[in-house]
Amino acid sequence: MSAPARTVSARSLPRTLTSQRARVGLYEGLTFYTFVAAFVVFCLAPFAWTLLTSLKGPTTIFAVPISYLPAPLDLANYRDIFSLDRFRWALLNSTIVASSATAISLVIGSLCAYAIARLNFPFKNLLLALVLGIAMFPGIAIIGPLFREFNAWGLTNNYLALILPNVTFTLPICIWTLTAFFSDLPAELEESARVDGCTRLQAFYKITVPLAAPGVFTAAILLFIQAWNEFLFARTFMSQPTRLTATVAIAQFEGADISAQYPWGQITAASIVITLPLVILVLLFQRRIISGLTAGAVKG
């Protein structure tokens, strides 16, 4: 049962057996790729169906039995949604809220992550517990007071009312991703910068941040996606039609012509437009996103 014995027995296999092995390998490969293909279809089919629907005209969408392919191809749904003020505002609002929240969260989060990764300071464990707590925090537990206070301060329908909660709830993933990146950077570079006369803070933003640029970028993508997808606060703190974010707009979508049949063509088109930036980000940066997402979980 020792290793060398096995190698010998494998080498002395008769020819017929080896070709049998090859056939088994082929079957295994076929089964393997069948399962993999099934999994890919499982992941993509609903999205593909939405895309196909969005490219159909009203008669093709509401045909019974279903016609699967968009023939004839019809871009009217996309024209219609972009002619809606509400939808154009929604895209703009989501962009403003998600990018501001991402930027602020990155600044606040990178300072905090650096402190966690490099410095010894009191209450560090308390801070880590606080960050973990925020990652699991149910937004519903604070929505009442925030709603009343934002009303009192005149912040409803103000971007700040969404940016602040988004910054708070994106902080955990920002801090985790960046702490992992900062810890992986060699401390010697900062030390030599300090020997050359830099202060600790200077060493941080002159040496560490530029070196951690890939990490900062990964964090930025993750935060942006999270803020872009936020719904609970956006639905609650914004009521003006010109202040709705994309998620709220699509949830309340009524279409260009309210008297018409439920506007599935426009809804699917709007879904595609809202999702497209995220899907493109994901496809371009899949490696980084996956390593950013899983780093904390498996190293923990």
Partner: protein, 306 residues
């Protein structure tokens, strides 16, 4: 040596001060937007506050709201639904995610495609996914019905989102679709940390692949599994977007989750006192679930996700 001591201690002091200073903005944000409002919610939960009537008195009622909650059928209904949805979706996600992770834990051609397609459901906005599934489940033009009819499994289309006994499972299926791929990704990352030599060693000991899975893979993967389960369970307990957009809790109250019921108490009934009570109870449920995972099962607490 003696000369160095005082200098080092001032240095340590400076380091501690800088550390606190750098963490201060994050701590302040968390205090301002999460901790203080949470305290306010707890405070509000002890009052009768109804925003329908601007000038109505807001008397202090102590724990009355909590007593009401304990005899509130709607709340228990929502608790039951949240439990069913959480347990069913998390269990299926774990099993499916594990199978997928084991399957793709090797190098093969087309790995990049698999990885990219895994991320699509994850990145998709939940609200968009809910609308998408509403369309897929549509009683007349839905693709699910069309496929089932073509396969000869049913004669008449099923109107999924109108029959309570089906709606909740339709919702769970949509949730599973969105989160399983990510679960697989997380488990795959954990699998890749298990050194290959361990499997070779167990194979030499004559263990079957099945035994190797139970004796090597599962124990070593335990921390990853626990982190994934912790965050997925908490997410399921907090579920709001999907039921709000897919069914709005209906038909009847058959998909009204705890958070959706609480939200409606706040913003439909405008009952901010009782709403705060339900919000505090939701918070306590989350605390309880994470306590069980972290303290009882020993989940590592430095996790990332989403």
């Amino acid at each position: 040596m003696l000369a160095i001591w005082p200098r080092r201690s001032t240095q340590e002091h400076a380091e501690a001060r800088l550390g606190l200073l750098m963490a201060a903005p994050a701590i302040a944000t968390i205090l301002l937007i999460a901790i203080i409002p949470l305290a306010q919610t707890i405070g509000d939960s002890l009052f009768h506050i109804n925003l329908k009537f601007e000038d109505a008195p807001r008397p202090f009622v102590g724990l009355d709201n909590y007593v009401s909650a304990l005899s509130d059928d709607s709340w228990f209904n929502s608790l039951r639904i949240t439990t069913v949805v959480s347990v069913a979706s998390v269990v299926v996600e774990l099993v499916l995610g594990m199978l997928i992770a084991l399957l793709i834990n090797r190098s093969f051609r087309g790995r990049g495609i698999v990885r990219a397609s895994v991320l699509v459901p994850w990145a998709l906005t939940t609200v968009v996914s809910a609308k998408m599934w509403a369309w897929i489940y549509d009683g007349r033009y839905g693709v699910v019905n069309d496929v089932l009819i073509r396969l000869g499994l049913i004669d008449q289309p099923i109107i999924f989102l109108v029959r309570p006994e089906l709606t909740i499972w339709a919702m769970i299926a949509a949730e599973i679709w969105k989160t399983t791929p990510f679960m697989a990704l997380l488990l795959l990352a954990g699998l890749q940390l298990i050194p290959h030599e361990l499997y070779e060693a167990t194979a030499l000991d004559g263990a079957s692949r099945w035994q190797a899975f139970w004796r090597v893979t599962l124990p070593l993967l335990r921390p990853t599994i626990l982190v994934a389960l912790l965050f997925r369970t908490i997410d399921a307990v907090r579920m709001f977007d999907l039921p709000r957009v897919l069914t709005n809790g209906g038909p009847g109250k058959s998909t009204e989750t705890v958070v959706l019921y609480t939200y409606n108490t706040f913003f439909t009934s405008l009952n901010f006192g009782y709403g705060s009570t339900l919000a505090v109870m939701t918070f306590l449920i989350v605390v309880l679930v994470s306590f069980v995972y972290i303290k009882v099962l020993g989940a590592p607490t430095q996790g990332a996700r989403r």
